[in-house]
């Protein structure tokens, strides 16, 4: 089984070179890990005339903390991100990086690809959403920085133009009085897609939660934040009953569908369960 028809393969060594190829070639696709793109090309979802491999662009391969921002370069793999010092400050993202795919996928796949693929079930999305992540997008003409929420425009749809590359994902370094967690449920434990996933972030001043952020995967057209649920947690002492109320309310702020992996009703039930687990794990970590 091959990606057909064939294409021209380009392996630029610099970002400028890659951007120029993206801007001048017709029907072009960038490739990094290829863990989504290669199957899609084999199945005929995409049939590019040109493939631009970004793996040799050294300046895109990093995970670093810079001026209060954690910055992840486009070609950093899941395992590379999980092993970095910078991402140890985001437990939710670290959770997701060890759950996503399989060892083989984590050695090759990237957050960039996971986000660009724009599956509502993308496991890297909820943790990045609770960190208020932004993405840097480059083309020949401009650089634009948009919130991650604006990248997703629908199931399997993103806002990138054909000539654009996502070059960096970044989010503010979480303060020491904060913690986060990511939980998911799949059809099985190993190497599986999420049926529902949830990320929670809490920032505490003593017993009071001063900032709460909640995000879900696989329960809407795109990965989503649930600001109404966040409002129920902020400026409160997070007692078991406050958490239970917020988790119950989460059911009304998600819009899941019934598909081969689960029913809409089951997904609503699991939002309640997973949010509680994520909040409890985050609170455990902050203490």
């Amino acid at each position: 089984m091959r990606p057909t028809p064939s294409f021209q393969y380009h392996a630029p060594k610099t970002l400028e070179g890659a951007i120029e190829l993206m801007g001048t070639l017709e029907n072009v696709k960038p490739i990094i890990g290829g863990t989504d793109l290669i199957p899609q090309m084999k199945e005929g979802v995409f049939s590019p005339d040109h493939v631009v491999d970004l793996n040799n662009v050294a300046e895109l391969n990093y995970v670093r903390e810079d001026n209060g921002l954690i910055c992840i370069g486009a070609t950093a793999t899941h395992n590379q991100i999980a092993a970095s010092d910078a991402v140890k400050k985001s437990q939710a993202l670290l959770d997701a990086m060890t759950m996503i795919g399989s060892p083989q996928i984590r050695n090759r796949g990237t957050i960039t690809g996971n986000l660009i693929n724009a599956s509502p079930a993308a496991d890297s999305a909820p943790p990045l959403l609770v960190h208020d992540a932004e993405v840097v997008i480059r083309s020949i003409d401009e650089e634009r920085i948009i919130p991650l929420t604006a990248l997703f425009t629908g199931p399997k749809l993103n806002c990138l133009e054909q000539n654009e590359l996502l070059t960096e994902i970044r989010f503010p370094t979480p303060p020491v009085n904060s913690a986060s967690a990511f939980k998911r449920i799949g059809r099985r434990k190993a190497f599986t897609l999420s049926v529902v996933s949830a990320a929670a972030y809490v920032e505490m001043e003593g017993e009071r939660c001063v900032d709460a952020r909640v995000a879900f995967g696989s329960v809407a057209m795109t990965p989503i934040r649930a600001s109404e649920v966040e409002d129920m947690l902020e400026d409160k002492t997070l007692t078991a009953s406050i958490i239970a109320e917020a988790c119950l309310a989460a059911r009304n702020h998600v819009h899941p569908i019934t598909d081969v992996r689960g029913t809409a009703e089951y997904r609503k039930d699991m939002c309640e369960v997973l949010l509680r687990r994520a909040l409890e794990a985050a609170l455990e970590r902050v203490r």
Binding site: Q8, I38, P39, D53, N55, Q104
Partner: protein
Amino acid sequence: MIVNFDLNGEPVSVEVEPNMSLVDMLREELGINSVKKGCELGECGACTLLLDGSPVTSCLLLAPQVEGCHVTTLEGLEKNSLMIDLREAFIENGAIQCGFCTPGMLISSYALLRDNLHPSAYQVKKGIEGNICRCTGFTKIIEAVLDAAERITPE
């Protein structure tokens, strides 16, 4: 186009079409048959090999992407002491039924034990989560990997 890379310690140079996958190049052009073609979509792990030391599924790489890389397959680990321990543990624990998943299982188990000499049963399961045994012989495989870890552990 020409791809130059290191295969099991030997430099090789192969003429390929850009849309050829790494597993096809190894099987069809280089006679490397330990990498098996199962799903060809990165789900089953039968084509697992080591790319610069890390396990990856060779059906998800384009042949030109290994330019300048080190590719290691089971053939290149035939005399490796860790692989010999693993192979013997697989045989003695009955961790093989049809054998189709075995090369991929051995490569994933090798990478796991190389990086972690004392894995727990859970860590072994995580280590081989990208490899499917359709005979469903997972229990014996997990026992074999744990047994191999015992063999290499110094007293």
